[in-house]
């Protein structure tokens, strides 16, 4: 992860996921409101989407874990080097841990969509767990680094924890579109903040990194963080307007497109 790509990749992934979840959540809300006979069909459609999503996230998790472990330079499933008496590449194992929990989320998604008797809130619980674990891992990630490096990661922990908290609180109340969109906007913020961290710590222009000890940089990044959030909110708003004001056949097409898009992703894996 110690380069620009290593931050841009998860960032892009989170951005795509956030946009897709926003669309899905608004579509669900729109279909529920119309309550025509078509509702049942759309319900089956959403179930199929959920299953595909789950399969993809499990597939991605496996790819991520295997890649991280067996690419040259990875730990090759070795945890402790008894000869040197030290742990082998703990950063890789941290990523492994985070991937694993998102994999569990994928498995739960598949199971609660195929087995009807399972409570639907199981996947919300697993989402909240995956986010809390991610926040926990990042919180224990920055020992002995520079001030600015720690600050941008603290903000990252703040977003992830907030998203986890919202998912956790959803366990205790009935679903509301406002709260769900809040959660997806926080996912978007997390994605774009990963990009920002990449730009700050490993400028892609090849120039020197930012001055990690200048307090002005911290002050600017704290404002910048708010601007990212404002952008995330505006994107969610634009998606809302776009999805709501498309006619019904188009909406159904959007669902199918989502299905297709997921299937293409599945094929490329």
């Amino acid at each position: 992860m110690g380069n620009f790509k290593g931050h841009a990749l998860p960032g892009s992934f989170l951005l795509i996921m956030g946009i897709w979840w926003t669309i899905k959540c608004i579509l669900k809300y729109a279909f529920k409101k119309q309550k025509r006979t078509s509702y049942l069909d759309s319900k089956a459609l959403f179930r199929r989407i959920e299953i595909l999503e789950g399969i993809i996230s499990v597939g991605m998790t496996l790819t991520g874990i295997l890649g991280e472990q067996f690419l040259p330079g990875g730990p090759h499933l070795i945890l402790y080097d008894y000869q040197e008496g030290q742990w082998v590449q703990l950063l890789s194992w941290q990523h492994f841990t985070m991937y694993f929990f998102f994999g569990l989320l994928g498995v739960t998604n598949i199971l609660s969509s195929t087995i009807i008797s399972l409570p639907a809130s199981f996947s919300k619980l697993m989402l909240s767990n995956a986010l809390f674990v991610e926040a926990f891992v990042f919180y224990n990630h920055t020992h002995g680094r520079e001030m600015l490096d720690i600050f941008v990661h603290k903000l990252l922990v703040l977003v992830i924890f907030s998203a986890g908290l919202v998912a956790f609180l959803e366990l205790f109340t009935q679903t509301s579109i406002t709260v769900e969109l809040l959660r997806t906007s926080l996912i978007l913020l997390q994605g774009s903040w990963f990009w920002q961290i990449g730009f700050v710590l490993y400028p892609p222009s090849g120039g020197p990194a930012w001055d990690l000890k200048d307090y002005d940089n911290i002050m600017f990044l704290s404002i910048c963080f708010c601007w990212h959030y404002a952008t995330a909110i505006i994107i969610v708003g634009a998606i809302y307007a776009f999805v709501t004001w498309t006619p019904l056949p188009l909406k159904r097409a959007l669902c199918l497109l989502g299905l297709l898009y997921n299937q293409v992703l599945y094929a490329t894996l």
Copy 2:
């Protein structure tokens, strides 16, 4: 902001807003209780008020942003001075950020009052967001200042965060007048605390500022903060008594007055 006016202005604005919101909230509760045929009319009235409020807050935000940016001494939309290699007036950009989120709140107010299909909780979400962002910005505001300066700003963050938390919790439960009045009383407290900060850091009498290193001053201000809150509660109580015990025609007049007052504000902009 680094003078008395710069703290008295937002303080007055918040006080006026807090009083108006208190009146509005109690009027709504009173009209809901009577449930006459007049209720529908009052609902339309409230919708019109909400729209005007939204327009005003958008207008004010724009004025604030443009004034802050283009008045002599402002950053003129320049963020980074490449020659000197430093950020341009980050304090102005902090204010810009806070204004912007209140502008978003205004836009949401307008949209959820004009478009019926939008969930009403959207504007509550944006209010909570605006308050959390304000608290976040003030939290990263006081690096390297004196003890008392930091303390009064910490208390400010405490009020703003509490108000944001109450608005956030309202997302998960049905509305209750008690919780709404708690929120408006916290807005009032925020307004009067801005005045207090002005008096402490930039005494308008022209005399010397308070001793920023004396712990007794901190102790007094922590009590003073409670007194401000007690005053805010008493003001809310007085408004409650006044609004509840006015006869119905007067209440309707009050609504219209609010509308007019908003329109006058709108005209003066």
Copy 3:
């Protein structure tokens, strides 16, 4: 407050209040369950009790404030000594602040029991406010003291804040006897902890105070705090058993006794 009596007095007051609130809460629950015609009578009875309680707490607050201000050695309503250039007896003003909020709670009790149109949750809000303000004042109370002194006051803040939090959360959900008893048990804990602080800092035996720098004392007091809580829970349980297993006429008598007891308190003021 800087002696044993100054801690035993509020402690005793809180213990009596906690026991009385526990009895009241269980009686209410018992009467609600029976739902006989007698229920309406008991409701009127409870209203009268609430009013008396309010009057008493207002009276006590006034006594406390006047005593603290005008007894020899008090600040006599003087806040700032311009000659010496320092604040006058801030500790007295801190007590004044706490008393004042409990007085507001009393006024709210009276008002919401006499005026039917007022939401009942107003007095719960004021209770939560009074507790939060008390916790806030105690939190800013212990600057520059010894380790053990700070620790016992931190625990005090913990109890008060917890009780305030429970009252605050009650605003968002319907009433439940379990949560109400949790709150009264925390009030009991606060009362007995005041006694404990008195014993630790100002031993009534006249012997030397505890060693304020010994870490073993902190460790013991952290256990002791739990024992106080266990005792509070057992007392609440005993009261529950006693009140529930008394026959109905006795229960009614208990209510009247409470009324009488309140009236006697009122007379002695």
Copy 4:
């Protein structure tokens, strides 16, 4: 407790308790769903199980307390040694405190299962109290120890506090199987983390303890903590699958087995 056994014992106990609670909670959910005439029988069965559980936990508490107090080396109910002027074995008294609260939970379990008029949420309140007290005691447990020792105990406090928080939040909402399984998975995590602490601080192989000052060990243990949680989740999932997919007579047999198992435990005490 200062050895491997002293951590493995409570760990094993918590693991068994966690597994049993998971089974019970899923069985309840399964029976509730079927709603046959058999439901009433199963309800009576569950009540009997609760009573036995309560008796066992009271018995265990008593054994634990008496063993800790009167075994050679224990404090023999002496709290303060006036001759030496110091507290007697505060660690033993800390354990005593924790046992005592779990004993109170047992008593509440017995009472709310035998007396129908008691609200069922009482035992949830006592569970939350017992967990909060345990977290509080462990929080004040690690003064003056090494970095890694403090870290593993901090994580322990985190699990216990989280479990207590979930139980506390359950007081305010209706029961949901998702939240209950979250709680039991946190109990399982607590149990396996006790084992881990034993392995870290007192390696049973007799080899030297881990390097308590090496930051890499902290980093590994923070990941390891997540793996423990993942394992706990997988165990809960496996139990869910096993219990749900057994036919009804087997489920009833499982209940009886639980009853028997509890009775055997009762006999061995």
